[in-house]
Symmetry: C2
């Protein structure tokens, strides 16, 4: 019914009844619920009066009812996104900040960004919650204290600001979810998402559900060992994929090899000028990524792999070797069945995934536990 109102605009009760094919009684019952919940509003100003009698009552989606908000507190930026009641993306906004900005300032920044999307008036309507992405593992039932320490009262701060419950999950996992709903893998049942950014992480949609793993620690593709004799990783391990495929690792390796690039755009410029050192380096990095992806495909059997993160701006120089290595190392009978795609949602993905967490009716979340933190940690 909401979909009909979305697609057709304002409709009278009888028009709506005809189009949805429900009995008068059922229609009445459902509309009563939708009107009471504020999802649908009535208007007596019919644009085309039917001749005699009072004008037919017209039903429309409530423009105030439906913005859902997601916030991604990344390492060095806040991203926000909004979708309307029909789950269409309304807009997104971002602002970078220093890595050590206190939570209170980040929350204030988030509130300001949300204001730019909603015209200053936040209307959470029937959704009545905000979905939030954060860096690092979330959701280990045995690790509540450590998780609360790291989040440092963030859920409480947000609840105070926005006055609604707050759902929190890892922002990369949320990006995987968003790409599977609105992005490169829209509608995918088995999706593997890899993000190549300051860190290397990912997420899994498995059999139609976002997957967390036993301790909220799934999708940690960046910490898969690719070189047991490799560099020390921040996680405490050695030779993790992150030590060769993060932005920092790639730039450092390029500069050590005689190149000169301080950021990804500079590296992209070098690639575009045909710089052999940069091309060789990305071939090596892409090959390592492809071997890891092939291993994961053999284990998990996704239909779509989505690669996101700033490093994908290097384009075919990276993605080409990834595809070659994936094809060479995947089980041959799976070779042409897995589709590799670039992420399409950009830096808004984490915030959009936060919204998906709120739109809990998504089939992708049907088996996914709600992750609202314990209220005790607000104090």
């Amino acid at each position: 019914m909401l979909d009909l109102l979305r697609r057709h605009g304002p409709l009278s009760r009888s028009e709506l009844g005809k189009r949805c094919g429900l009995s008068r009684t059922t229609l009445h019952d459902i509309l009563t619920v939708l009107l009471a919940g504020g999802a649908v509003v009535t208007s007596a100003q019919d644009t085309a009066p039917r001749g005699r009698g009072r004008p037919a009552e017209t039903l429309t989606l409530n423009p105030d009812a439906g913005q859902a908000i997601g916030i991604d507190f990344a390492r060095r930026a806040v991203h926000v996104a909004a979708v309307n009641f029909a789950h269409e993306i309304v807009g997104s906004a971002s602002e970078p900040h220093a890595a050590d900005l206190p939570w209170e300032d980040r929350v204030e920044l988030a509130e300001r960004l949300v204001g730019t999307l909603t015209g200053g008036a936040l209307r959470l309507g029937a959704l009545n919650a905000i979905g939030v992405g954060v860096v690092g593992p979330v959701g280990d039932p045995g690790d509540g204290a450590a998780s609360a320490r790291r989040l440092d009262g963030l859920p409480g701060l947000l609840r105070k600001r926005f006055g609604v419950p707050v759902l929190v999950d890892n922002n990369t996992r949320l990006a995987a979810l968003a790409e599977s709903i609105w992005g490169a893998a829209a509608g995918g049942q088995d999706v593997l998402y890899l993000r190549l950014s300051h860190g290397v992480g990912g997420g899994l949609v498995v059999g139609g559900s976002l997957h967390r793993g036993m301790y909220g620690l799934s999708g940690e593709f960046g910490h898969i060992t690719v070189d047991p004799a490799g560099a020390r990783c921040d996680c405490g391990g050695t030779g993790c994929l992150e030590t060769v495929a993060s932005i920092r690792a790639v730039l450092d390796a390029y500069n050590v090899a005689g190149g000169r690039a301080d950021d990804v755009p500079a590296l992209v410029a070098a690639l575009e000028s045909g710089d052999a050192v940069a091309l060789d380096l990305l071939r090596d990095v892409g090959t390592r990524i492809g071997i890891v992806l092939a291993a994961l495909c053999n284990a998990i059997g996704p239909g779509v792999i989505v690669i996101g993160g700033e490093l994908t701006a290097t384009g075919a120089a990276l993605i080409g070797p990834v595809e070659e290595a994936l094809s060479a190392h995947i089980l041959p009978i799976s070779r042409h069945r897995v589709h590799l795609r670039r992420a399409t949602l950009g830096e808004a993905a984490g915030a959009l995934g936060g919204i998906a967490l709120v739109l809990h009716e998504s089939p992708l979340l049907s088996r996914y536990p709600a992750t609202e933190p314990d209220p005790a940690e607000d104090s």
Copy 2:
């Protein structure tokens, strides 16, 4: 209600009503269904008459109602297993055969083995289906023809013999399912099962459901590349885990290194005598397995890893190095959260998994599509 009858034995209607706490009407409705379906039978011979009046009617599980049968058509053996209505394992039986034995002979062998478990009288009761494990991938919707060719009419042969529908899946995946229901990971929501046998394979229980992957190709751990410069694998790849960790690969490597063993028991004997070549070899194999398992843990986040297959008879010589490498390469914060266990169901695991496929009400199968092959392939 069935569980109460299983645990308490025969009960009167009023005793059953008291214990399950349901209303008289609800109790009556449920019992009507159970009696009609043959799951429960009544008996007037009350062992303890209540003084005056006719003896209370007693309800028991129908001993004839409930054997469920699973069959595993492995490469060189047929395994069968049976569980009773209460889902307890009644028994299992196996018989080896030549690798090229025709399907008709294998089916005849299966029927004979089933007869030894059921006393000659097969009573499938309310379950009314047989679950069957086979070698190789099963369940790719785009590969029906190839799958039918490989199965070569097996489902039709079985249906003719047993007169009930036949459900088919990969036998290693079924073993993973069985270990998660009756075996080393009983009750596990996130279980990774690895089998080290003539081939190397596995299966995943993910978020409480057996996972198949987009094309029925999940759990192919044996074809994860562990050495890009390694040996050619039967799958067409190079340096797959199977090329270093299958029974044949381990025995060949041992013999090339100067040892002498034609089968796993001989290798176990060498290990028990402290043979340094064998110990070093298994340390190397175990390390490679542990690195793969660590990668999969980082990606998927299981709570339990179960290792099965004949090669686990090498015991601590293999499992020790697996655990060390797993611990060294898993994300440090996950280190003490994943439990590594030896499989407990032995060679019956695949057949038991077949039964689980039939007991479709298992929560582990709640999101798992039934895999009854197209009747068209019987002709």
